[in-house]
Amino acid sequence: MDYPTKQTKAWVTPQIVVAIVLFGTMPLWIEAVGLYQYLGVEVIIWMIFALGYNLLLGYTGLPSFGHGAFFGIGAYAYGLAQFEVWPNLWFCLAAAVVVTAAFGAATALFLSHRRGIYFALMSIAFGQIFFFIASKWTDVTGGEDGLLDIQRLPVEFGAMSLSTRSNVELYYLCFALFCVLVILLWRLTNSPYGRVLRAIKQNEMRVSFIGYKVSVIKWSVFTLSTAIAGLAGGLFAMAQEGAYINIMSLQWSGTIVLMVLIGGGFVSFWGPVLGVILYFVARDVLGAYTEAWLLWFGLMFMLLVMFKPEGLAGMWRDLLGTLVTRKAEPKGNPAKVEG
């Protein structure tokens, strides 16, 4: 399993351009392919969430099974900031990010010196704690009903104000943030920090023996990924015009792991993006034909874990690899492609 071994100094790569073009035009063609605008909004928000989550899962190898909680905290923080403090888009989104990151940082204090399955178990426990508190603290979170009537606040730049009321408008707000995030994460994962994260995944002990304080790095990446989850959560609150508890449950926390893995988050920066698209489209299309869509999706997921844990991105890479090696040497080893 491997991300491309060659790192780059570029801010924008061909893949990023493709992604920007593809997602930038999505509102124009999404209905033509039989989907609907709101789905596009959900998809792009979950992509943001998944990209941030993959810093943790794919890059650092830390399987958090409680990340849905942070997504939810972001949504509540956005709503509360809007109701209680200042209904301004930038302020509310910033509040979602900061509040979630603060919760994430506190949680990470407990998790940062753990790894593997112990990490997973503890992250489940923390996810449950937040879920439980959110479900009980009705005065703040609205309990089982959630926060209702959250507004899609306009984007304000000085005197200019852009509405986000319609799904397409909101989509473009999310898209803009998505672009910024993709470029930042791309740079981050190609910096020494990103390389140390991957080193931690491969061999945590060795990382400490080349002079890095592993627990601090793990703490920081956990906090960073929760901050991104908070941003996604804030946007999701806008999309749904509400903040609801279910997203914080264990099932949803598991679902984000499932999406990232299916897409190939372990081997590719773009894995989470593919995974989110596959999940939502499968859900919508399969879901329209069969009530038991999760059965088929679950089976597909099991087969993938068993036979191709590198996910969609891994398949894609194998495909490219086969093509490349066929050209180069007929009997070459197709498993690895560098670059």
């Binding site: 100094k9 020494p192 390389r195 061999n203 060795r206 080349i210 002079g211 890095y212």
Partner: protein, 247 residues
């Protein structure tokens, strides 16, 4: 004064006393060896010396400073580095990347997202120098997983060297190597000796007697004998053993 000193180290795991009373000192510029039978506590001793475990009692001094119980990263930053017996490489990385990530120059730019490692020619050159020293210059772009066993041993030492240590601990470098690999490793160690202070745990007594300046014998969690190879060989029982016959 010795560069590195361990005084009265005592370590238990549960009911088991692993280190009873360890007293060691290593001089700058020398190659010191630690040997002992299987299960004598060599590796635990190593782990305590390099910060992986904290001793229950006793002191570890480096360059006059107390570093007892310091976490590994602090010890590394002070200039002590180690290689592992069970190889601990970054299997997804190339040989070069394994070295690069261990360079202190990269560590200092950790939080700079603009810094692209592959475009940092200074660091790349430095890493290539180290690969030269451990004899792997031609393998820089190879994935570390596909190295041969002996090459992995060399890379293991290379990664430890990359942290630019004043003192290098090497844990059983010959384990699993054939005669050929062992002799090549002996050459490597000899050449490293010129620049770096080395402490080496070794099961293979002959190897150690060949390269070490001073040897400590550890058994039952304590140092049961100490001296230069010649002093140790003077023991009548040693002369009667394989080791004696060899010379």
């Amino acid at each position: 004064m010795a560069l590195f000193e361990a005084r009265h180290l005592h370590k238990r795991f549960g009911q088991q006393v692993v280190l009873e009373e360890i007293n060691l000192s290593f001089e700058e510029g020398r190659l010191s060896g630690i040997m002992g039978p299987n299960g004598a506590g060599k590796t635990t001793c190593f782990n305590v010396l390099t910060g992986r475990y904290k001793p229950d009692r006793g002191q570890v001094l480096f360059d006059g400073e107390d570093i007892t119980g310091s976490p590994p990263e602090k010890i590394v930053r002070r200039g002590i580095s180690r290689s592992f017996q069970i190889m601990n490489l970054f299997d997804e990385y190339t040989v070069l990347d394994n070295i690069v990530i261990a360079l202190p120059g990269i560590r200092k730019k950790l939080t700079n997202p603009m810094h692209a490692i592959d475009a940092d020619s200074e660091m790349q050159d430095r890493a290539m120098d180290i690969l030269d020293r451990v004899g792997l210059p031609g393998r820089a772009r190879t994935n570390s997983k596909s190295l041969s066993y002996g090459e992995r041993r060399a890379l293991e030492i290379g990664v430890a060297l990359a942290t630019e240590p004043r003192l290098l601990f090497v844990d059983e470098p010959t384990a699993g190597l054939g005669a050929d690999g062992t002799s090549r490793l002996a050459d490597l160690i000899q050449s490293l000796k010129e620049h770096t202070t080395i402490v080496m745990i070794e099961h293979d007594m002959q190897f150690l007697f060949d390269v070490a300046d001073k040897i400590s014998v550890i058994h039952w969690g304590q140092v049961i004998a100490e001296g230069t190879p010649d002093e140790l060989r003077a023991n009548p029982w040693v002369r009667r053993s394989n080791l004696g016959e060899l010379n």
